[in-house]
Amino acid sequence: MSSSQLPALQVVLPLLGAVICAFLRRGTLAWGVALCVTWTMPVIALSMLWQVLATGPISYAMGGWAPPWGIEYRVDMLSGFVLFLVSGVAAVIIPFARKSIATEIDSTRQAWFYTMYLLSLCGLLGITITGDAFNVFVFLEISSLSTYVMIALGRDRRALLAAYQYLIVGTIGATFYVLGVGILYSLTGSLNMVDISSRLGELGFQPPVLAAVAFLFVGISLKLALFPLHSWLPGAYAYAPSFATAFLAASATKVAVYLLVRYFFSVFSVSQIFEGLPVSEILIVLSVAGMIGASLVAVFQEDVKRMLAYSSVAQIGYMTLGIGLANKQGLTGGIVHLFNHAITKAALFLAVGAIVYRMKTCKIDDFAGLGRRMPLTMGVFVLAGLSIIGTPGTAGFVSKWFLAVGALEEGWWWLVAIVMVSSLISVVYIGRVIEIAWFREAKPIADNAREPPASMLLPMLFLAGCVVYFGFATSMSAGYASKAAAHLLGAEQAIEVPAAAGTKQ
């Protein structure tokens, strides 16, 4: 019986944990609660994932109200994968938080930070698990509002400005999303994604669907920082507390990408709305522009966090490129890049967080000589940097390989060339940091720089290990992603069953 309640627990536990954190008021105690909650999350996600692999998608009726009237929690191949990814990365990096947060946030505010972190986790897992379009909006706002607060808790006063700008852009994005859902609702009379999809199919093409598609896609693209809607991201990542940056980089944009995949393939593709519409083409052009443009901007940054933030915008381009290609290899590349980039960026931001912990700065010039002072931390940075570039033997190579194969399947040689060019630009910006850190004399500011404590070092090393492991053992990540991709592309057949069940009632 208890195992049947897992989908609800996945969301309710972080919500309860957040309330407890808010009452505790002591930073370390709140961290303990956050640690306990975060560590149960991947266990729940993994057991649901096993159940999905064994018996097919889980459908959970929230509060006992049967879908499509009640809110349905739906775990399938893709959402189970993203749930495990988000909760898994969070569980790996949470030990890092205590010391990092203790130095970066006033002691009176630390408990609030963990409250916001757990709320954000709750929202992100909720977006992923729910099968109800309006429920997605609610969770989107839960995670966004708590994220704005996390960013505003950064030391620099510019963090306040970054949080404000993200609030404006994020709210516009969420409102666009809810506008799109509203139009879909008035067309189909349903909020359940599976139900919307089958009803759209019966309805055939109607002009208002176009408006709904436009609102939904622009709204979600604002959230996932698709180029050129990325203006909020660099400021938010650069000035947020280091732990928050690592958490957000590994989870928030990934969940938004998941949402885009969900709408693209599970809701709209089935009903043949996109035939004759250049949605894929627009997505590919914007992805390519982001891959090149944002990478070039990253080269000229003076702040390592900001540089990595622009690199994230470029890397998101790879994921949306996979969605735009919409063939099996390309989509596999997009989904596996979701996974690979999450662990890679988490490792990079943790390494920078450890340097901020020791040096209180993350200017590129201050990294001089750190290669010898903090060899393990910089080693993690180099390894994860190689994965961003896409060197064979690291996780980043695997996803780029699938994307290139997917592009070749369409006969688009130029796209492969662009992926290569974007990788070469990332050699420049990652190489620049490596050159300064390993081949320059240390500045006086680095005099007492040494390796961070074990609680910060171990999560980094673990993630770096994952980056290498998933560079070789591709059967687990890429194998699973290709199954999920096949499932999404073959969704036309899979969708028939619940639609028939809905009409019976």
């Binding site: 607060v149 006063r157 306040l160 516009i172 008035s186």
Partner: protein, 122 residues
Amino acid sequence: MNPFIHELIAHYNQWITIFLMVSGLYIVIAKDNMVKKLVGLSLFQTSVYLLYISPGKILGGTPPIMDPKFSVYSNPLPHVLILTAIVVGVATLALGLALVVRINEAYGTIEEDEIFARGEEE
């Protein structure tokens, strides 16, 4: 009556929605004052409430309580959805205003252009 004008009048609720939406979005983009931006954002969100609620009402329809005397019911679900959206809107506005207060403490101004002009020197 001219069918075009009839269309215009029949959808007057939609026109109000579009007017609120566009003016809200315009204020967010055009204004430098951070409080005014938040007012625009609120207006923009409010337009969505109307978009949801107005199609849910059927003229002459009653609340959906089963009774042999009534046969036309209005849809109550949009109201429930928008109650949630109003709560979200209030929370967003409150957080936004709190951030503006903190920005005013840190920078001494709430004009975005003044802060950006200063930010370049830092």
